[in-house]
């Protein structure tokens, strides 16, 4: 029912979305999110033009963290399935980084859980980003806005 992948390969949004409802006639709603490498985000770091970023992670812990986040979502909302895919390695602007898909009977639960998983993933899954520039690599700092987004689910 919950499935997690941490991989360097890209993923197929159509197939992943369809798999969340395939053969399950009780699914009425599938909410998904795709995160992509943004060109302006890279450039906003200052310094030389950024051509790519490299995602480092903590093999073993990453999968556990994502599974824990999915389980937490299932405890909070009525869900019929979740799918999380997070890539690592070298990515260029426009590349997909992350897929979160949530299936439920009703749209309210699916939307809330999808956003919750993304917010928790940003602050609890052990990934780090390094931007590549002509002057060398530059680590991306964690954002306070992400801590705030995750924090609002704790009220």
């Amino acid at each position: 029912m919950n499935s997690v992948s941490v991989q360097d390969a890209d993923f197929d949004v159509g197939l992943e979305t369809a798999a969340l409802s395939a053969g399950r006639p009780e699914v009425g709603a599938v909410a998904t999110f795709v995160g992509l490498v943004r060109a302006d985000k890279l450039a906003a770091g200052g310094g030389g033009a950024v051509t790519a970023m490299t995602l480092e992670h903590y093999p073993g812990m990453t999968e556990k963290a994502l599974e824990a986040i999915a389980a937490e979502a299932c405890a909070r909302w009525q869900l019929l399935g979740t799918r999380i895919i997070h890539r690592f390695g070298r990515l260029v602007p426009g590349d997909r980084i992350v897929f979160v898909g949530v299936a439920g009977s009703h749209r309210g639960d699916a939307f809330a859980a999808c956003e919750f998983i993304m917010d928790y993933l940003k602050t609890r899954a052990p990934f780090w980003k390094k931007e590549d520039t002509p002057d060398g690599g530059r680590w991306v700092d964690a954002r306070e806005a992400d801590d705030a987004a995750a924090g609002r689910w704790e009220s």
């Binding site: 903590y58 812990m61 556990k64 609890r124 052990p126 390094k130 680590w139 964690a142």
Partner: protein, 84 residues
């Protein structure tokens, strides 16, 4: 007590180590004490010092400095995460 310590991302680069195996003195019982012990190596290891924004995990679970360290634990130190 013998433990494995992993370092990630900018911390790995600063320290020049991705992992090490350590035998700890009996005086070290918690994660916070381990971190202070490592910072006392001085030089680049001050990156683990008090006030530095470092997170840690024991056996692949993020925990606070008060948690006890046990023999054969896998400990990791890393900067705040930035996935998604």
């Amino acid at each position: 007590m013998s433990i494995k310590v992993l370092y990630f991302a900018s911390l790995r680069e600063t320290l020049g180590y991705s992992h090490e195996t350590l035998t700890l003195p009996a005086s070290i019982a918690t994660l916070g004490e381990l971190r202070a012990h490592l910072a006392r190596r001085g030089g680049v290891w001050e990156a683990l010092g008090e006030g530095r924004n470092v997170r840690a995990a024991i056996n692949q679970e993020m925990v606070g400095p008060e948690v006890a360290v046990a023999d054969r634990d896998e400990i990791a130190f890393f900067p705040p995460v930035t996935g998604g």
